[in-house]
């Protein structure tokens, strides 16, 4: 797909200044973006900051967690100054434990049948529609795909989810867990092909220390930067990006 200059209203600003610069303004609205990284790479923080910043700009969002209970998620996020509890209480940012939804739907919590996957897809779409969200996060798609039993089911699920949300002009981040120091974007090798964008959170070793890195690998319809940046996570500023020093290590 050719890269085109999108109008501002067609872009979903992350609110992370340096990231929006790398994205040439923001994520094309309605895109499904895979946020890839190993454990502790900052995927959840990035996604939450994206939702909170969106809410501060008046865009409602929803965060579906599968990997950790809500109380743990909120406790971790309270350490960040960008986190605003009032946005959760007011419903501008909705936090939903997908495991509880699955239980309530009577779905098998370990393996989904085709019907289970379809029911889950419907409920995700209904929630997004009912809440009128413009930003959605699933943390993680890896944990969700684990419950889908075949590559076809994974492909079908992500494709249908992405298409429905795009129709609602909802921009989606899916977190993808990969082993550390492996150059791969997903556990099942399918997720990256159905996604419109890929953001890779990695690290490099410098004198034995790990420097966090950030790279936009793909973003359909956007003239984005492909440079590898250094990434910082601090309680004061959340995610920040800086030009990575490239001298030979």
């Amino acid at each position: 797909m050719p890269e085109v200059e999108l109008e501002k209203e067609e872009l979903c600003k992350t609110g992370i200044e340096q990231l929006d610069e790398l994205l040439n303004g923001g994520i094309p609205t309605g895109s499904t973006v895979l946020t890839v990284g190993s454990s502790g790479s900052g995927k959840t923080t990035l996604c939450m900051q994206y939702l909170i910043n969106g809410a501060k700009m008046g865009e409602r969002g929803v965060f579906f967690t599968i990997t950790e209970p809500l109380f743990k998620l909120t406790k971790n996020m309270e350490a960040f100054s960008f986190y605003d509890k009032k946005l959760i209480e007011s419903g501008m940012v909705n936090l939903i434990d997908l495991r509880i939804i699955s239980e309530r739907l009577g779905l098998d919590t370990e393996k989904y049948t085709v019907e289970d996957a379809s029911a889950l897809l419907d409920i995700l779409r209904d929630i997004a529609d009912e809440l009128n969200v413009k930003r959605l996060v699933i943390d993680s798609i890896t944990a969700l795909c684990y419950r889908l039993q075949t590559p076809e089911m994974i492909r079908d699920f992500i494709f249908k989810l992405g298409s429905s949300l795009a129709a609602m002009k909802c921009t989606t981040l899916l977190t993808s867990e990969v082993p550390p120091r492996k150059f791969q974007y997903s556990q099942y090798g399918i997720e990256e092909f159905i996604s419109d964008g890929i953001i890779f959170l990695g690290d490099i070793e410098r004198k034995g220390d790990l420097i966090r890195t950030f790279q936009i690998v793909k973003m359909r319809g956007s003239a984005h930067s492909r440079v590898k940046s250094a990434m910082s996570i601090s309680s004061k500023n959340g995610i920040e990006l800086a030009q990575l020093l490239k001298s030979r290590e």
């Binding site: 410098r206 004198k207 034995g208 220390d209 420097i211 250094a230 910082s232 500023n237 920040e240 800086a242 030009q243 990575l244 020093l245 490239k246 001298s247 030979r248 290590e249």
Partner: protein
Amino acid sequence: MANVLIDGLKERISNAVKINQSIGILLPGNNYSELVQALFERIRDNPDEAWVYLTVTKPYDNLMKSFPYLQNSKNVKFIDCISRAAGISRSDQDCIFVESPTMLEKMGLEIMNLFKEADENAKKYLVIDSLSNLIIYNDPEIVTEFFYQIINRTRARDIHTISLAIEEEGLSQYLNRLIYLNDKILKVRDSFI
């Protein structure tokens, strides 16, 4: 004798920053304490200026013990790049602790963040203490790239940079290359003060 040294250093620093955006100070190790004292007295005596002091040489706590008049100073913020690596874990409203002196990009981010918080109209100064210690913890090529970036960013924002380089055997070829990225070089020798 010490006071004469410090007064001489203060005067040389003042004169240099008046006309140059970035100055490099090359000094022997035995003049380090006097130079730091001269800088801190300058900071204390000019409360309208905004200073950021990046230390890779002495921990923040150690500097505060040696120069207690800087405690709670409104016009200086510190970035301590060595305490965390030494296992000291605490927070302070006047100091940002960077995990390791290898995290150069993080240092760059924090420097610019601190200057963003400073009064827009204040004259702004950055001290890098020191290039020689950055080279001890990192490869010289990456320190050169880091310093080049910092110098360019600070120049663009009208921030004066004062970078210290303590002469050490084996480092002179790298230090000479680095220090000459500055607009002006001060070579500190007892006899010149």
